[in-house]
C-alpha cells in the first residue's frame, strides 16, 4: 500500500480544507516549522485507519476544531496496482460517513467501507499487520507504557501492533480475555474451584445431595426393616393368639396339674410309710445300742474292779523289793569306803619307800657335781683374766696394719734414697774422717745419699751445703710417718717395736684363754648355771629310811588294796542299779494303782447298781426279736407303696413345663403387642416424614446435580483447553517472530555501530540491550540520540520484514529524529534513502535546515476544495 494524497477538512486548525498531494513511492519529506499542522495530519491519518465512522471517542473528538463542525479526512491510496479514495467523516451524533471510491465510482460505503479499509490494512499472507508504521514526534516509544492514545501512536505501539498482529492481535487478546473471564467464573487463579462459583456450587450441591441421599436411604432402609419386622411380629402374634393353640396349651396344663396332684398324694403316703419304718428302725437301733452299751459298761466296771485289786498287790511287792535294794546299796557303799582307805595307805607307804631309795642314790652324784662346780668356777675366773689380758694388748689385725704402714715408710725411704742425690767421699790417702756430714763423719768411698740436702762440714775448709729441691717423695714419707705415729700414739705405744711386743703378749693371752674355755666346757658342758640346777634337782635325804619296809612288799600291798577296792566299786554299781530299778518299778506300780482306781471311780455307778442293771439288760435282750420283726414289716409296707407310686419329679417337671408354655405365651403376647405398638408408632412417624417421597426427590435431584456438575466440568475442561491452546500458540508465534526481526535488524544496526549486536525481548520484541565492542549496555542507560536511532532502526527492520512478507507498509515519521547529532543524522538519511527504495517513507519534521540534506520528494500542506468525494 502506498499513500498518494491526504486531505483534511474541519480538523483542528484546518477549518478549511487542506491537502498534501504528490506523495511519492519512495522518500517524502514535509519540512515545516512547529505549529504548522504536521502532527494534526499524523493524527488524522491514524484516526482514518483505526476509528470507525460512527465513533466519537476521545481520539476522534480531539480532531474536531474549536469552532465545531464534523472532521473529515480523505486519503488517496494505491493498492494492488489500483487507486482508491477513502473518505471518512465523523459526527458527534455518531452519524458519520465512510466511503471508498475506485476509478471515481463509489465502491463501498458505511460498514462495508470500514470492512474494506480494515482488509486493506491486513497483510494477505499474515492476516494481521497494519499497513502503516507510525513514528511519533518526540517520543522514543520504547517504554512499555499503557495503552493510552499517545502510547498507541508512538513507536512502541506501532511495532507492538505489528507484534500483536503476528501474535494474534487484538482478537487474540480478546479471545484470551474472554476465555480467562469465563474461567474465572469457575476457578481461582491457582486452578481450584472458586467459592461461590458455579463449579464449586455444583460440587457442593452434589455433595450435599449425596449426603442427604445417604441419610434418606438409611432412613428408608430402616423403615423397610421396621415394616418387615412388623410383619414378622404380626405373624408371631397371630400364631400365639391362635385359639386352638391356646386351648391345647390350657388342656395340657390341666392334665399336668391332675397328674401332679395324684403323684403328690402318693408321695405323702410314701412319706408316712417311710416315717413309720424309720420309727421302727430307730426302736430296734435304740434297743441294740442299749444292749451293747450297757453290757460293755458292766464288763468294764468289773474289769476295773479286778484290775485295781491286782495292781495294789503288785505295788506292795515293789515296795519290799525297793527296800531290799536300799539295804544292799548301803552295804556296798560302806565297803567301798573301807577299801578306799586301805588303798590310800598302801600307796603312801610305797611312795615313802621309793623316796628314801632315790635320796640315797643322789648323794654321790651331788658330791661329784659339787666338785665339778668348784672347778668350773675356777676355770671361769681364768677365762676372764686371760680375756682381760688379751684385751689390753693390740690384736693381730691392728699389728698387721701397723706393720704395713712401717713397711710402706721404709719402702718410700728406700725409694727416696735411691733416687736422691748422694755424696761419696773418696779421701785422699791419709785423710779420713775430716768430712763430717750431718754431724757424722763421711766414710771413704761410701755413697751417702742426701735426699734432703746436707750440710757437709769439711774441717778446715768450711761447711759445704748441699741443697736439693724438696720433692713429693719426701712429703709422702712424712705423711706415712705421721700416720704411723698417730696410730701408735692412739694406742699409747711409743714405737713399732712396742707394738710388736704388745702383739706378742696378746697372742700369749689368747692362747691361755682358749685353754681355759676348753677346760670349762669339759667341766660344765651346759654352763655353770645348768650344773647348779642339776645339783639342786637331786632328792633330799629321807629321815628314818631304815625303818621303812621292803619296797616289793609295799608294792604288792598296794596292788592288793587296789584290786579289793575295784571289786567293791563293781558291787557298789550293781547295788545302785538295782536300787534305781526297784524305785522305778515301785513308782510304776503306784501309777497303775492310781489308774485302776480312776477306772473304778468311773464305773462307780454301775458297780453300785450292778445287779439291777444286769437284770434290765436281760429283759431288753428278750424284747429285741419282736422289735426287729416290726421293722421288717414296716419296710415291706413302704416298698409296696413305693412300687405303686407315680413319678412325682416327672409330674412336677411336666407341670412346670405346661405352666411355662402358658406363661411364655402370655409374656410373648404382651411383648409382641408392645413391639407392635412401637413399630406402628415408628412406621407412622417415618411415614409422616414422607421418607420415600423425599428420597425419590433427592435421588432425581442428585442425578440432575451430577449431570450439571459433569456439564460444568466439561465446560471448565473446554475453557482450560482453549486457554492452553491460545497461550501455546501465542508463545510459538512470538518465537517465530523474533528471529526474522533480528535478521532484518542486524544489518541496519551495523550501519551505525559495526560489530554491534542488539538484544530483543522475546515477549514484546523490543530492544533490551546494545552490545558494542563486547560491552553490554542496558537500553535504558543509552543516550537519547542512540535510543532514538535504535528505535527507528527497529521500526525499519519491521518494515523490511513486512515488505518481504508481501505488502510494504508506508512508514510515517513525525519529528522522530530529534536527538540525533549531525554525524549520525547523515547515516540515518542514508539508511532512510536506502529503505525508501523498497517502500514509502513520509517524514514530517520541523528541522527544515537539517533535513534539507535528506533529499527525497518535498511535500507541503496546501489549501484544497471543500467537498468530499472530490479527491482527484
Amino acid at each position: 500500500m502506498k499513500l498518494r494524497k491526504i486531505r483534511l477538512n474541519n480538523v483542528r486548525r484546518f477549518t478549511d480544507p487542506v491537502e498534501i498531494s504528490g506523495i511519492a513511492s519512495g522518500l517524502n519529506v514535509l519540512a515545516a516549522p512547529n505549529e504548522n499542522g504536521k502532527s494534526t495530519i499524523f493524527d488524522a491519518l491514524h484516526t482514518l485507519f483505526f476509528k470507525g465512522h460512527r465513533s466519537w471517542d476521545k481520539e476522534v473528538s480531539s480532531l474536531a476544531p474549536h469552532a465545531g463542525g464534523d472532521p473529515e479526512v480523505g486519503l488517496e491510496l494505491e493498492l494492488g496496482g489500483q487507486v482508491f479514495k477513502v473518505e471518512k467523516r465523523w459526527a458527534k451524533s455518531r452519524k458519520g460517513e465512510a466511503r471508498v471510491f475506485r476509478d471515481g465510482s463509489l465502491l463501498k460505503q458505511g460498514d462495508d467501507a470500514e470492512d474494506w479499509l480494515s482488509a486493506a490494512l491486513k497483510s494477505p499472507k499474515d492476516g494481521g499487520p497494519a499497513g502503516l508504521l507510525w513514528v511519533r514526534q518526540g517520543i522514543l516509544g520504547l517504554e512499555n507504557d499503557d495503552a493510552s492514545l499517545t502510547a498507541r501512536r508512538d513507536l512502541l505501539s506501532s511495532v507492538a501492533g505489528e507484534v500483536e498482529a503476528m501474535t494474534g492481535g487484538r482478537r487474540m487478546e480478546t479471545a484470551r480475555r474472554l476465555c480467562s473471564e469465563e474461567l474465572e467464573r469457575y476457578l481461582t487463579k491457582s486452578g481450584k474451584p472458586k467459592t461461590g462459583g458455579p463449579l464449586k456450587e455444583a460440587e457442593e450441591l452434589v455433595a450435599d445431595l449425596g449426603t442427604k441421599h445417604d441419610e434418606l436411604s438409611a432412613k428408608a432402609s430402616r423403615l423397610r426393616a421396621e415394616i418387615d419386622r412388623r410383619n414378622g411380629v404380626r405373624r408371631e402374634l397371630a400364631a400365639i393368639e391362635d385359639p386352638e393353640d391356646d386351648r391345647e396349651r390350657k388342656e395340657r396344663l390341666q392334665s399336668a396339674e391332675a397328674a401332679f396332684s395324684e403323684a403328690q398324694r402318693h408321695a405323702e403316703t410314701l412319706e408316712k410309710e417311710i416315717e413309720s419304718e424309720k420309727s421302727r428302725f430307730h426302736e430296734v437301733g435304740r434297743a441294740q445300742d442299749k444292749l451293747k452299751v450297757q453290757g460293755e459298761a458292766i464288763t468294764e466296771a468289773k474289769q476295773a474292779r479286778d484290775l485295781l485289786a491286782g495292781q495294789v498287790s503288785i505295788h506292795e511287792e515293789r515296795k519290799l523289793a525297793r527296800r531290799d535294794a536300799e539295804t544292799e546299796h548301803a552295804d556296798a557303799a560302806r565297803r567301798f569306803e573301807e577299801t578306799e582307805k586301805a588303798l590310800v595307805f598302801a600307796t603312801e607307804t610305797l611312795r615313802h619307800i621309793l623316796q628314801a631309795k632315790s635320796a640315797a642314790s643322789a648323794a654321790e652324784r651331788r658330791a661329784e657335781l659339787t666338785q665339778r662346780l668348784a672347778r668350773a668356777e675356777g676355770l671361769r675366773q681364768k677365762v676372764e683374766t686371760a680375756k682381760a689380758a688379751a684385751d689390753i694388748e693390740i690384736d693381730t689385725k691392728t699389728l698387721q696394719s701397723l706393720e704395713e704402714l712401717d713397711a710402706q715408710i721404709r719402702t718410700l725411704k728406700h725409694l727416696r734414697a735411691s733416687e736422691a742425690a748422694s755424696v761419696t767421699m773418696h779421701y785422699d790417702e791419709g785423710i779420713s774422717g775430716c768430712v763430717v756430714i750431718n754431724d757424722a763423719a763421711l766414710a771413704d768411698g761410701i755413697r751417702f745419699p742426701v735426699p734432703g740436702g746436707a750440710a757437709i762440714d769439711i774441717a778446715g775448709v768450711g761447711r759445704l751445703v748441699v741443697e736439693t729441691p724438696t720433692g713429693s717423695g719426701e712429703t709422702d714419707i712424712e705423711d706415712a710417718e705421721r700416720a704411723l705415729a698417730d696410730r701408735l700414739h692412739s694406742m699409747r705405744l711409743q714405737d713399732i717395736a712396742m707394738a710388736r711386743e704388745s702383739g706378742g703378749k696378746r697372742q700369749g693371752a689368747e692362747a691361755q684363754l682358749r685353754d681355759a674355755k676348753a677346760a670349762l666346757a669339759a667341766e660344765a658342758p651346759d654352763g655353770i648355771d645348768a650344773l647348779r640346777k642339776q645339783i639342786a634337782a637331786l632328792p633330799e635325804e629321807v629321815a628314818n629310811a631304815d625303818e621303812l619296809p621292803d619296797p616289793a612288799e609295799a608294792e604288792q600291798a598296794e596292788r592288793d588294796a587296789k584290786a579289793a577296792r575295784d571289786t567293791v566299786i563293781l558291787n557298789l554299781e550293781k547295788a545302785r542299779e538295782r536300787l534305781s530299778y526297784a524305785k522305778s518299778e515301785e513308782a510304776r506300780a503306784a501309777a497303775a494303782v492310781e489308774a485302776a482306781e480312776a477306772r473304778v471311780t468311773r464305773s462307780r455307778n454301775i458297780l453300785d447298781n450292778l445287779e439291777e442293771l444286769e437284770a434290765e439288760i436281760e429283759i431288753l435282750r428278750q424284747q429285741l426279736p419282736a422289735l426287729e420283726a416290726a421293722l421288717e414289716e414296716a419296710g415291706s409296707k413302704r416298698k409296696e407303696v413305693e412300687r405303686t407310686a407315680p413319678d412325682l419329679d416327672a409330674a412336677t417337671a411336666a407341670l412346670e413345663r405346661a405352666r411355662s408354655v402358658v406363661e411364655r405365651a402370655d409374656r410373648d403376647r404382651q411383648e409382641l403387642r408392645l413391639e407392635l405398638q412401637r413399630l406402628d408408632t415408628a412406621i407412622d412417624l417415618y411415614s409422616g416424614e414422607a421418607v420415600d417421597e423425599e428420597l425419590a426427590d433427592v435421588a432425581t435431584r442428585l442425578e440432575q446435580a451430577r449431570d450439571k456438575l459433569a456439564e460444568i466440568e466439561f465446560e471448565v475442561a473446554v475453557l482450560q483447553r482453549l486457554d492452553s491452546a491460545l497461550e501455546a500458540a501465542r508463545a510459538a508465534a512470538r518465537d517465530r517472530y523474533v528471529e526474522p526481526v533480528l535478521s532484518e535488524l542486524v544489518p541496519l544496526i551495523r550501519l551505525f555501530w559495526p560489530e554491534a549486536e542488539l538484544h530483543l525481548d522475546a515477549d514484546n520484541v523490543l530492544p533490551t540491550a546494545l552490545i558494542r565492542a563486547g560491552t553490554e549496555e542496558d537500553f535504558d542507560v543509552l543516550s537519547g540520540g542512540t535510543k532514538e536511532q535504535i528505535a527507528l532502526l527497529v521500526r525499519l527492520a519491521f518494515a523490511r520484514m513486512l515488505a518481504k512478507s508481501g505488502d510494504a507498509a508506508p512508514i510515517i515519521l513525525d519529528d522522530a529524529i530529534v536527538y540525533t547529532d549531525d554525524d549520525r543524522i547523515e547515516r540515518m538519511f542514508d539508511t532512510l534513502t536506502r529503505e525508501a527504495r523498497d517502500q514509502q517513507i513520509i517524514v514530517f519534521t520541523c528541522r527544515q535546515k537539517a533535513f534539507r540534506d535528506l533529499g527525497g520528494r518535498s511535500l507541503s500542506i496546501a489549501p484544497a476544495r471543500p467537498a468530499m468525494a472530490s479527491i482527484d
Partner: protein, 377 residues
C-alpha cells in the same frame, strides 16, 4: 341388559417432585399432577360415567407427605358425584399401612380403597375383581384368583390390576407378570391395567390407561385416561382415549447436515406456536453434522425460541462439527490465533486421542469461533 360406563386411569404418582427439572418448572409439574384428579372427574362427567377405576400407583411413594395425600383425598372427595375405586400399586403397595390407614380415615364414602383380592359389586350387576398389591414385589400373579372367582351370570366382570403383561425391565423374574389373556381366562369383560405410563392396548378387553399427566419424555404428548363403555356382559367394550394432561411432552430429534439452514431446520421441528408453548416440555436431540457458523447460528436460533417453552432441553452430544478451512479463516487467517485454532482442530480430529479429549478440543474450537465472532461484532 344395562350399559356400564367408567373411566380407567392409573399411575397418577401424586407426590412426585420432579427434582430433575429446574425449580421454576417443578412447581407447575407437581400442581398439574394434582389437577389431574379434577380432570379425570370432568372426563367422567363428559363420558356420563359415575366411576373412576384407579389401577394402582395413585401415589409416587409409600410415604407421601401429609399434604400430598390429604389434598388428594380432599380433591377426590370434592367430586362427590363420582366413585373412585383405588387399588395400591407397586409404588404405594398395601405395605404402606400408615398411608392407607390415614387415607381410609379421611376418605369420604365415594372414595374406595381396595385392600383385598375379592369381588366387589361396585354398581348394579357390575362386579369389580381387584388385585391390590400387598407389597412392592408380590412375587406372584395377583390376578390368578380371578379365574376361579364366580360372579352372578348377569354381572359385568371388570378386572383391576397393576403390573406388566410383559417384562418391562422391572426387577421381578417374571412371576408377577399378568398373563395377557387374563381377560379371557377369567371371563372378564374388561381388564383395567396400570403401571405403563402410556396408553397401550393389549387386547380388545385389556388396556393400560397410561398416566393422566405425563411425567417423562418416554411417553410423549399429553396425559390421558380411557373412557370405557360396556354395553352388556361379554360385550366388547368401547374404549375411548380422553386427554386429561396439561403438559405436552415432546422429545424431538433434529437431523442436521452442513448444507442446511439451521434456523429453518429448527422451525420445521419445533412444535406449537409461541402462544401455547408454555405448556410444552421440549427435549431437542440434535444429530448429524454442522459447520461452525451454522452451529453458532443454530445455538442462536435455539436461544431465540427456548424461552417460549415451559421447559426446553437441548442435547447436542450427538451433533458433530464439520470444520472447513474457511471456518478456521473466520477465526484468523494467520498468526497466533490461527495457530491456536489449528491446534484445537487437530485435537478434535485426532483419532489417537480419546473421545472425551476430542470432544473437549472440538468444543474449545467452537468456543474460540464464538469469541472471534464476538470480537468482530
Amino acid at each position: 341388559m344395562h350399559t356400564f360406563r367408567f373411566i380407567h386411569t392409573s399411575d397418577l404418582h401424586l407426590g412426585r417432585r420432579f427434582g430433575n427439572f429446574p425449580e421454576e418448572v417443578r412447581g407447575r409439574l407437581v400442581e398439574a399432577r394434582h389437577a389431574a384428579i379434577a380432570s379425570l372427574a370432568n372426563a367422567a362427567r363428559d363420558h356420563e360415567a359415575g366411576h373412576i377405576l384407579v389401577a394402582g400407583d395413585l401415589f409416587d411413594t409409600e410415604t407421601p407427605s401429609e399434604a400430598v395425600w390429604r389434598q388428594a383425598v380432599a380433591a377426590m372427595g370434592k367430586e362427590n358425584d363420582i366413585h373412585w375405586w383405588i387399588i395400591p400399586g407397586n409404588h404405594d403397595s398395601l405395605a404402606a399401612e400408615a398411608l392407607w390407614k390415614r387415607f381410609r380415615g379421611q376418605a369420604p364414602e365415594t372414595v374406595h380403597l381396595i385392600d383385598a383380592g375379592e369381588p366387589i359389586e361396585i354398581a348394579g350387576e357390575v362386579s369389580l375383581l381387584p388385585a391390590p398389591l400387598p407389597r412392592r414385589f408380590p412375587g406372584m400373579d395377583l390376578t390368578e384368583w380371578m379365574r376361579e372367582c364366580s360372579t352372578p351370570e348377569a354381572n359385568i366382570r371388570i378386572g383391576l390390576a397393576h403390573g406388566g403383561v410383559v417384562n418391562f425391565g422391572s426387577e421381578d423374574d417374571g412371576q408377577e407378570i399378568i398373563p395377557p389373556d387374563r381377560s379371557s381366562t377369567a371371563g372378564l369383560d374388561y381388564l383395567a391395567l396400570g403401571d405403563w405410563h402410556g396408553v397401550k392396548k393389549i387386547g380388545e378387553r385389556t388396556y393400560y390407561s397410561g398416566t393422566p399427566e405425563r411425567d417423562r419424555f418416554k411417553h410423549v404428548g399429553r396425559g390421558c385416561c380411557l373412557a370405557v363403555t360396556i354395553g352388556s356382559p361379554r360385550a366388547v367394550p368401547e374404549v375411548q382415549v380422553v386427554e386429561t394432561g396439561r403438559f405436552n411432552w415432546a422429545e424431538i430429534e433434529i437431523h442436521l447436515t452442513p448444507e442446511q439452514d439451521p434456523e429453518t431446520a429448527l422451525q420445521a421441528v419445533v412444535p406449537g406456536s409461541a402462544g401455547d408453548r408454555r405448556d410444552f416440555l421440549m427435549k431437542l436431540n440434535a444429530r448429524g453434522w454442522m459447520r461452525l457458523p451454522e452451529r453458532e447460528a443454530l445455538s442462536r436460533a435455539i436461544d431465540h425460541v427456548r424461552h417460549d417453552f415451559g421447559y426446553f432441553e437441548y442435547v447436542e452430544t450427538a451433533l458433530q462439527t464439520e470444520i472447513e478451512t474457511d471456518d478456521l479463516d473466520e477465526i484468523a487467517q494467520g498468526g497466533a490465533l490461527r495457530l491456536a485454532a489449528d491446534a484445537l482442530y487437530g485435537g478434535a480430529e485426532n483419532e489417537m486421542a480419546s473421545a472425551g479429549e476430542r470432544a473437549i478440543a472440538a468444543a474449545a474450537l467452537r468456543r474460540l469461533y464464538g469469541f472471534a465472532r464476538r470480537q468482530e461484532k
